[in-house]
């Protein structure tokens, strides 16, 4: 119990020290920040060793069969090469491991984007034009159509706002007037979306503040009363 109290006290002190940043930057805040980074780095290192290195690279060599051992040798070798990235002299040896990581990550990212977002979201942008389905749920078809059109316009204009091309440094980036007009509409939708995101961020932060204030008050009440 006393140990718990000490930990709670630690949390309380840290909370107050972080709140003290409202008065400006000071050495206590920096101490807390550097301590926090060190503690988190230590925890992450322990977690990686116990959750990634040992079960994937060490245990298969010690306890696993031939197949598992063989499967562990290659990533072990790649991991050893990756360690050379710490030294500038031999860092080029780790390029193979980095390339492997980049290749796998790029493939997963690309496949997920194509399968999980592109196809489904494009399909979702047009599902609103299913007036029969809208009528089935009791919606006004005209309203549904207008809404679908509006949402489609917003989606396309927001997408056009992002220009996917290689920019010629010699020339200023200019688009045709029609695309520029559509991009302006998309800018409006993006601004609305960003406003919603801003509201959500504030809501999340406000909730965190509520939590911290509740913690502080609870601790004080527990201490005082």
């Amino acid at each position: 119990m006393q140990l718990d109290f000490l930990w709670t006290l630690t949390g309380f002190i840290l909370t107050l020290l972080i709140f003290s940043y409202l008065f400006g930057d000071h050495f206590l805040f920096r101490i807390v920040a550097y301590l926090f980074v060190g503690v988190m780095a230590g925890y992450a290192a322990v977690l990686l060793i116990y959750q990634a290195i040992l079960p994937r690279l060490v245990y298969p060599l010690l306890e696993g069969g031939a197949l598992q051992t063989l499967q562990a040798v290659i990533p072990l070798a790649l991991g050893a090469l990756l360690l050379t990235k710490l030294t500038p002299r031999f860092s080029r040896l780790g390029n193979l491991s980095m390339g492997y990581l980049v290749g796998v990550g790029a493939a997963v990212l690309t496949g997920g984007a194509v399968v999980g977002t592109l196809t489904s979201q494009v399909q979702a942008a047009t599902v609103g034009f299913d007036l029969q389905a809208a009528a089935m749920v009791g919606r006004n078809p005209a309203g549904a159509l207008a809404e679908a059109s509006l949402f489609l316009l917003g989606t396309i204009s927001a997408l056009i706002y992002f220009q996917f091309s290689v920019r010629d440094k010699r020339q200023k980036a200019e688009r045709p007037p029609l695309l520029e007009a559509v991009a302006t509409i998309g800018k409006v939708f993006i601004a609305i979306t960003l406003g919603a995101i801003y509201a959500g961020v504030f809501a999340a932060a406000l909730t965190a503040l509520i939590d911290r204030l509740d913690f502080v008050t609870e601790f004080i009440f527990n201490i005082v009363f």
Binding site: I18, G99, A205
Partner: protein
């Protein structure tokens, strides 16, 4: 042994293409090979994260040992790391006592920083139009106000109204259009990035 760029590029492209093909080809061989390659990649990702931590320590070690400009805070960081690492290796991450590192240190600190964000956002909202001039700034402020009100319980009240309710609902759903456009743009950008790597146009691994 010097890893030549063409060899590394070849490995990168080969591995990436096999994994990518697994998304579209139901072949058992491709699927198994893809799973094996991804398994190696996950293991390697763990090693890469550990190397990142080691690099962080190396940087602060140099700062702490710099005779000209010794950094006290770096020394504190190294001390905190050492203690935490030693305790974690001894107690293991599943130990409830070691978990206080998260519950009593990380959570209070990060949550407090998040709480400060609320005050900062309030102050930023007060000076929002001073920094963002023009129609986009006004539109942003209006949207923020509307959605904050919607998030604070005004929406259900407005939805009860016959005509305003529909508009309110529509406005409440309006960010979806812009978000969908943004998501499509992000997805296309991710796809382009992956293709550039597969084509060898980008080689971020040649460090």
């Amino acid at each position: 042994m010097k890893m030549r760029s063409p060899v590394v590029a070849a490995v990168t492209i080969a591995v990436g293409l096999i994994v990518l093909l697994g998304y579209f080809l139901p072949s058992l061989l491709v699927q198994n090979l893809r799973a094996l390659l991804i398994n190696w990649g996950v293991s390697l990702a763990g090693v890469a994260a550990l190397i990142g931590i080691l690099n962080l320590l190396a940087v602060h070690w140099r700062k702490a040992n710099d005779k000209g400009n010794r950094n006290f805070y770096s020394l504190l960081l190294l001390l905190a790391f050492s203690v935490t690492f030693a305790a974690g290796m001894w107690l293991t991450p599943a130990d409830p006592g070691f978990q206080h590192v998260i519950t009593s240190i990380q959570i209070p600190v990060e949550t407090s920083l998040m709480a400060l964000l609320a005050i900062t956002l309030g102050y930023a909202g007060l000076r929002l139009l001073q920094r963002r001039k023009g129609i986009m700034g006004i539109l942003f402020v209006i949207g923020a106000i509307v959605f904050i009100l919607f998030s604070s319980g005004f929406l259900p009240v407005l939805q009860q109204l016959p005509l305003v309710g529909g508009v309110a609902s529509l406005v409440n759903r309006l960010p979806v259009a812009g978000a969908r456009g943004i998501l499509l743009g992000v997805a296309i950008g991710s796809m382009m990035t992956g293709l550039r790597i597969f084509l060898g146009a980008d080689r971020p691994y040649n460090g």
